[in-house]
C-alpha cells in the first residue's frame, strides 16, 4: 500500500495525459491532507482530480448559498465529510431529553443538503459515513440506551444507508469500514487533532483516498465485470487429475472449509452480476466432474459463463474468454494460486488484474476483501441473469461456426427486437448501460436514473430503447438512443450506446432504420451525429461513416429523405 508521501509525490508528475475530473470537497474539520491524498491517489488511477476544497467548516454555507464557490466550481462530484468527532461535539451540546432523536434530526439535515445539491447541480454526491467513536458514558449498557451516543451514531449510519437506497445520486464512502479494518488507533491521533483539527491520521489517508477514488472510478464506468478462476488449489484443495474427486479438499473439514467459503463468495459475486469464467490446465471432462458430482461444491456449471479446461497457454485461453464476453481486459480479474501462471498472464495481458494470492488458502478471502475489487454504482435484476446470457453467447459462437456465410448465420438466428421509447420499466436498465458501456458508445455521456427519467419526460427529446432476442435466448435491453431536438428540422444524436454482446448482428442498421422512422414521423429531415473519442470507443470511430452519414465539420449528417434503408435480419417484435 502506498503511503501518504508517495501520494504527495504523485502530484509533481506530469498529469497532462490523465482524465480530468472536478471534485468539490466539503468537510467540517481540517481537510488539507485528505485533499492531497485524494488527488495523489487519483494519479495512481489515471485521474487528474481538479479539487475544490472549501474553507474550514463551510459545508452548510457552500451548499445553501446559491452564489457560493461550490456552484461556481460546477463539480462533477461532491464529497462531504462530516467527522464523528464533530458529531460527538454536537451531541454533547444537545439537551439529554432530545438525544433519542439525535440521529433522526441529523439525517434530516443531511437529506436537506443532498436535496438542495440535487436541485442545483447534476453532481454525484459522496457522503462519508461515521467512524465509531464511543464515549463510554453508559459502558456497554449503551446498547440498551437509545439516547447514548454510540446508539445514535450507529443508527445514523443505518439511516444514511437507507437514504442512499432511496436517492439515486447519493453514494456512501464507507469510512467506518476503513476504521474497522485498520483500527481506531491507526485511524485517529488525538495529539495531532488537538493542534490541527485533523481527524484522520496520516497512516489512514491512503485508505480514505482509495475509497473515494474507487467510487469515482466506478462513476466513470471503470468496473470489474468478470472473474476468471483457476481450479486446482484455487477453487478446491488438491489436484483433481491426480487426487480424484473423492480426495479433493472441499466441505466442512479442515482446509476444505476455506474453499467452501471461498466458493460462496464467488457465488455471491455471480449472483450480483459478475461473470464467472474458468481457465484451468486440465482435461475438460475431469475438471467438470466436481461441478457435476461433488456434493460439497457450491459452484455449479450453470454459474460459469465460459469454461475452458485444456493444456494450452492460459494467456491464450483468457483471450478466448475475452472474445466470447467482448469486454475489456481491464474489467477482468484472474485468480490463480500458481505464481508462474499469474506472471505469464500478467506479462501477456498487462491490462488484466491478477491479485498476488497469498500462499496459504486460508488467507485468500481476507486478502481479496482487502483489495475491494468489485465496486459498482448500480444493481438491477438483469445483472443476475448475465451468466445465462453469456452461456448463450458461447452457444451462438458454436452455431456460427456451422455456417460459412455470415448472412445465412444471421438469418438463422431468428432475431427480434422490442423497440420503443423509454418508459418506467426500462429507465433503470438504460441508466445502468449508460454507466457501463465503454466501447460501443458514441459520445460516452453518462446519465443517472434521474437524468434518464427527466429526458424521458422532456419534450426536447425523442428516445428509443431496443431489446434483442434470438433462438438462443433473450439478451434483454441492449441499446438506447437519445435524440435531441435542435430545431424544427434537425435531430442531434445525443446518445447512442449498445451492449457489445450484440455486435456484428446488424443491430446498428436496424437501430438507424428505427431512428429514421421516428424522425420522419415527427417531421424531422436531418440527423446529426457526433463521435467523441475515448481510450475505449475506437470501434465506433467510423460508425456514422459506415452507416452513410456525410461529414459536416466535426459532426456527421444524414439527410433523411435521401436515406436508403440499411438491410438487416432483425424483425420488430
Amino acid at each position: 500500500m502506498l503511503v501518504f508521501n508517495d501520494l504527495k509525490k504523485n502530484l509533481k508528475k506530469d498529469l497532462s495525459k490523465l482524465k480530468k475530473l472536478r471534485l468539490a470537497f466539503l468537510g467540517d474539520t481540517a481537510t488539507q491532507f485528505i485533499a492531497q491524498a485524494i488527488k495523489g491517489m487519483g494519479v495512481e488511477y489515471h485521474l487528474d482530480i481538479d479539487l475544490f476544497e472549501a474553507d474550514f467548516n463551510q459545508i452548510d454555507r457552500q451548499i445553501f448559498d446559491p452564489g457560493s464557490e461550490l456552484y461556481h466550481f460546477d463539480p462533477e462530484v461532491v464529497l462531504i465529510f462530516e467527522s464523528s468527532h464533530k458529531l460527538l461535539q454536537k451531541y454533547n451540546k444537545t439537551a439529554p431529553d432530545t438525544r433519542r432523536q439525535f440521529a433522526e434530526s441529523t439525517i434530516l439535515s443531511v437529506r436537506e443538503k443532498v436535496s438542495v445539491l440535487q436541485e442545483r447541480t447534476k453532481s454525484k454526491i459522496i457522503f462519508c459515513n461515521y467512524t465509531e467513536e464511543d464515549d463510554r458514558a453508559f459502558g456497554q449498557y449503551a446498547n440498551k440506551v437509545a439516547a447514548s451516543f454510540i446508539f445514535q451514531l450507529r443508527k445514523l449510519n443505518f439511516l444514511l444507508q437507507e437514504s442512499a437506497v432511496q436517492t439515486t445520486n447519493l453514494y456512501i464512502c464507507d469510512l467506518s469500514a476503513i476504521q474497522n479494518t485498520i483500527g481506531r488507533e491507526r485511524f485517529w491521533s488525538a495529539s495531532i487533532y488537538t493542534h490541527t483539527e485533523m481527524v484522520v491520521s496520516i497512516d489512514a489517508l491512503p485508505d480514505f483516498a482509495l475509497s473515494v477514488v474507487r467510487i469515482v472510478q466506478s462513476f466513470q464506468g471503470q468496473l470489474k465485470k468478470c472473474l476468471i478462476l483457476d481450479l486446482d488449489n484455487t477453487v478446491w484443495g488438491g489436484v483433481i487429475g491426480d487426487d480424484g474427486i473423492e480426495n479433493i479438499q472441499i466441505g466442512q473439514l479442515g482446509i476444505g472449509k476455506v474453499f467452501t467459503e471461498f466458493q460462496y463468495w464467488i457465488k455471491k459475486l455471480q449472483q450480483r452480476g459478475i461473470i464467472i469464467a474458468v481457465c484451468s490446465k486440465n482435461t475438460a471432462s475431469i475438471a467438470k466432474e466436481p461441478f457435476e458430482k461433488h456434493p460439497d461444491m457450491v459452484l455449479k456449471l450453470s454459474d460459469i459463463a465460459v469454461f475452458i479446461a485444456d493444456w494450452d497457454n492460459k494467456a491464450d485461453n483468457i483471450r478466448k474468454i475475452q472474445q466470447v464476453l467482448n469486454i475489456g481486459f481491464d474489467s477482468m480479474v484472474f485468480l490463480d494460486d500458481n505464481p508462474f501462471e499469474r506472471s505469464i498472464v500478467r506479462e501477456n495481458i498487462p491490462q488484466i488484474t491478477v491479485p498476488e494470492l497469498p500462499e496459504d488458502p486460508a488467507l485468500y478471502l481476507d486478502y481479496l476483501y482487502g483489495l475491494n475489487l468489485f465496486e459498482t454504482i448500480s444493481y438491477s435484476n438483469e445483472d443476475s441473469q448475465r451468466t445465462q446470457q453469456y452461456q448463450k453467447e458461447a452457444e451462438r459462437l458454436v452455431f456460427q461456426e456451422s455456417f460459412t456465410n455470415e448472412s445465412d448465420f444471421l438469418q438463422g438466428l431468428d432475431m427480434r427486437s422490442d423497440t420503443k421509447s423509454f418508459d418506467s420499466f426500462t429507465v433503470p436498465r438504460i441508466a445502468q448501460l449508460s454507466q457501463r458501456s465503454n466501447q460501443f458508445n458514441l459520445r460516452t455521456v453518462r446519465y443517472t436514473e434521474d437524468d434518464i427519467k427527466r429526458i424521458a419526460q422532456s419534450d426536447k427529446y425523442l428516445t428509443l430503447s431496443f431489446t434483442l432476442e434470438d433462438k438462443f435466448g433473450d439478451n434483454g435491453l441492449i441499446c438506447a438512443v437519445i435524440l435531441e431536438k435542435q430545431d424544427e428540422k434537425s435531430l442531434f444524436i445525443d446518445t447512442w450506446f449498445m451492449s457489445c454482446r450484440v455486435l456484428k448482428r446488424g443491430m446498428e442498421s436496424y437501430v438507424l432504420n428505427a431512428i429514421v422512422d421516428l424522425a420522419k414521423k415527427n417531421g424531422f429531415t436531418t440527423l446529426l451525429g457526433e463521435y467523441i473519442a475515448t481510450p475505449k470507443n475506437e470501434i465506433v470511430k467510423d460508425h456514422y461513416k459506415s452507416l452513410g452519414f456525410q461529414p459536416k465539420g466535426d459532426l456527421w449528417k444524414l439527410d433523411i429523405d435521401q436515406y436508403e434503408r440499411n438491410s438487416n435480419y432483425i424483425l420488430k417484435k
Binding site: F4, N5, K8, K9, K12, Q32, F33, S189, A190, S191, I192, T194, H195, T196, M198, S201, I202, D203
Partner: protein, 80 residues
C-alpha cells in the same frame, strides 16, 4: 544514540517528507530556513519521527519546539 546520529536521521526524514535532497539541518535550523516546512508538513514530519523512533510526542511538545535542537532534545529524552 548520539545527538549527531539523530540529527542525520532527522535530516533524512525532512528530505523524504519535503521531497528535497538538498536539505541540510543543523541544531539552529528553524522553520523559516527550510522551504516547504510549514504547519502542515510539520505534522507529517512529527508522525515520521514518531514512527521511526517508535516514540510519541505530547501535544504540548509538538507546539513548543522553536528549532531543531529542541526537537533533538525531546527525542533524546524519550530514547534514553
Amino acid at each position: 544514540m548520539e545527538k549527531k546520529e539523530i540529527l542525520l536521521v532527522l535530516q533524512a526524514i525532512f528530505r523524504e517528507v519535503l521531497d528535497d535532497e538538498n536539505i541540510v539541518l543543523s541544531e539552529e535550523t528553524v522553520s523559516n530556513d527550510i522551504e516547504g516546512w510549514d504547519s502542515l508538513t510539520h505534522i507529517q514530519i512529527i508522525v515520521a519521527i514518531e514512527q521511526h523512533f517508535k516514540i510519541k510526542f505530547t501535544s504540548k511538545e509538538i507546539l513548543s519546539w522553536k528549532n531543531i535542537d529542541e526537537m533533538l532534545h525531546s527525542i533524546c529524552e524519550k530514547k534514553v
